[in-house]
């Protein structure tokens, strides 16, 4: 009788472990597929606005009311903080010749899926400069009282990438070497989109 109880207990623990692990493994891909439309829209909107005038955006609070807007040039970076409920932000975008409606719409999209950071990252392959769009999101499943909050980061490449058998992003010239972005190893969603669950959102 006691042996049977232990057997059931072991099976239950194994099942729970399997379910929790598989949920954790599936979450990033599932999240991307569920929000594909808006994530792609954020990416393309940002790329289009960035090409006209470069910038990065960061949400500074949990209520998605305050943002830090980084205006970029080749040699300068201007960091300004705004309250989205005030009118200064749109006025400033207009004054500095940004595409105001496009950026306002981008920020609304970001806020709707709790996207807290968007940036354009340069990287080098065979001494050639390339770039990707990097975005980070908050998610209830990634908040832990003991471990601290983690963030769901997505990297959108313009070219096909290479992955190892475990789906980890690898270096194009050294296939056995993990390719890092912001010091993190990324995993495959599609051959041009990767994710990481990371402790830092930028």
């Amino acid at each position: 009788m006691q042996l049977k109880f232990y057997n059931i207990l072991v099976v239950l623990i194994a099942a729970c472990t399997f379910i929790s692990c598989s949920t954790a493994m599936k979450f990033p891909t599932r999240y991307y597929n569920e929000h594909k439309g808006i994530l792609d829209s954020i990416r393309y909107n940002y790329e289009s606005a960035y090409d006209k005038k470069p910038f990065h955006i960061q949400f500074k609070d949990k209520r998605f009311r305050y943002i830090s807007f980084e205006m970029l040039s080749d040699t300068f970076r201007y960091i300004y903080n705004f309250d989205l409920e005030a009118h200064d932000f749109a006025d400033t975008l207009y004054k500095y010749n940004y595409n105001t409606p496009q950026i306002i719409s981008l920020i609304a999209d970001m806020s709707s899926i709790r996207c807290i950071w968007i940036s354009h990252l340069d990287y080098y392959e065979n001494r050639q400069k390339k770039n990707l769009v990097f975005i980070s999101m908050r998610h209830n499943q990634l908040e832990s009282f003991f471990k601290g909050e983690k963030y769901y980061a997505l990297a959108f490449f313009n070219e096909r990438q290479f992955f190892d058998k475990q789906g980890r992003l690898t270096d194009k010239s050294e296939r056995k070497r993990m390719r890092e972005i912001n010091g993190q190893v990324f995993h495959k969603i599609t051959d041009r989109i990767c994710y990481a669950i990371t402790g830092n959102f930028r």
């Binding site: 500074k60 970076r77 309250d83 005030a86 200064d88 912001n182």
Partner: protein
């Protein structure tokens, strides 16, 4: 959090323009300049053929020379790096290039050819593991294509040691991201004293903020009386990378202060950080919270 209005933008833009029209580091006094970028460019034109160096097996002469030319043509980008602990070396490198670009380029040339070189009172003779790694660093932004900057940063980190480096003194691959490359405040000031012929004074410490009542006025005065001012910052408050309510205050970053001014209850600061001049409006409280050390240099 307070909104900047358009007038404050105009004022900030004015201070930005002032910064743009002066040197790459506004706080650097012209009287200490030994050579100019033009001198360095003329020197580099005389270097037509450079053989591979047996001391730096992964640094190709062509890319090395391209990097030296970048120092002269685009000095801001020359020392940019991502995901490393090289910020202390980056901050002092901007000044190196601004003060004596010709001397710096010649020193780099000697380091490449002979595997050792002297700068100030320092005799750099990097270890074999460092020499083998230079040219191979990856995923560090523009540093990936700058082998000379890799040589310089790795040589500095290999030579200067502080208490943060006690448990990891020998370079192994990947150590550019670890405590091997970290720079505590005393080590940073020691590097300045040894590399340059300036009088270097500092206030602050690694874990305790300097007891300065009015930090803005203090920095403003040092900007006027010194040739260069460096700040040792808790960068995680300046650029948030995660949302946490409580955080242990630890400084992790060095920048060159270019400009500071006050406008109503906001402070406009401009500083050299990575490959860009950064301009930001912050509150006096945030300034007091983030600054752990102030180093200022004067002529001897």
């Amino acid at each position: 959090m307070r909104n900047p209005n358009i007038n404050s933008f105009r004022n900030l833009s004015l201070c930005i323009l002032l910064c743009c029209h002066t040197n790459s580091a506004n706080a650097i006094d012209d009287s200490i300049r030994i050579s100019t970028l033009k001198d360095a460019a003329l020197y580099l034109k005389t270097v037509s053929n450079l053989d591979s160096s047996i001391f730096w097996p992964n640094v190709r002469p062509r890319y090395f020379l391209e990097n030296l030319n970048m120092y002269v043509q685009n000095p801001l980008y020359a020392f940019e790096s991502k995901n490393t602990n090289f910020c202390g070396y980056t901050a002092l490198s901007f000044v190196t290039l601004d003060k004596d670009p010709l001397g710096f380029v010649k020193m780099m040339m000697q380091l490449y050819k002979e595997g050792k070189a002297q700068m100030g009172s320092v005799y750099l003779q990097p270890s074999a593991s460092v020499r083998k790694m230079a040219g191979k660093l990856k995923y560090k932004g523009v540093l990936d294509i700058n082998p000379a900057t890799q040589m310089w940063f790795l040589s500095l980190a290999d030579h200067f040691k502080g208490y943060l480096n006690v448990f990891n003194k020998r370079y192994d691959e990947g150590d550019e991201n670890t405590m091997w490359a970290a720079t505590n405040f005393a080590k940073f000031n020691r590097m300045l004293r040894h590399l340059f012929t300036w009088k270097v004074k500092a206030r602050g410490a690694d874990l305790v903020r300097p007891p300065i009542t009015d930090l803005f006025s203090y920095l403003d005065e040092k900007m006027k009386t010194s040739n260069t001012v460096f700040l040792y910052l808790n960068n995680r408050l300046l650029y948030k990378k995660k949302y946490v309510v409580t955080r242990i205050g630890v400084p992790t970053h060095y920048v060159v202060l270019l400009h500071i001014s006050k406008e109503n209850d906001r402070i406009n600061i401009a500083y050299m950080d990575g490959g860009r001049k950064t301009f930001q409006q912050i509150s006096p409280e945030l300034l007091n919270t983030i600054v752990y050390g102030v180093t200022y240099c004067t002529n001897k």
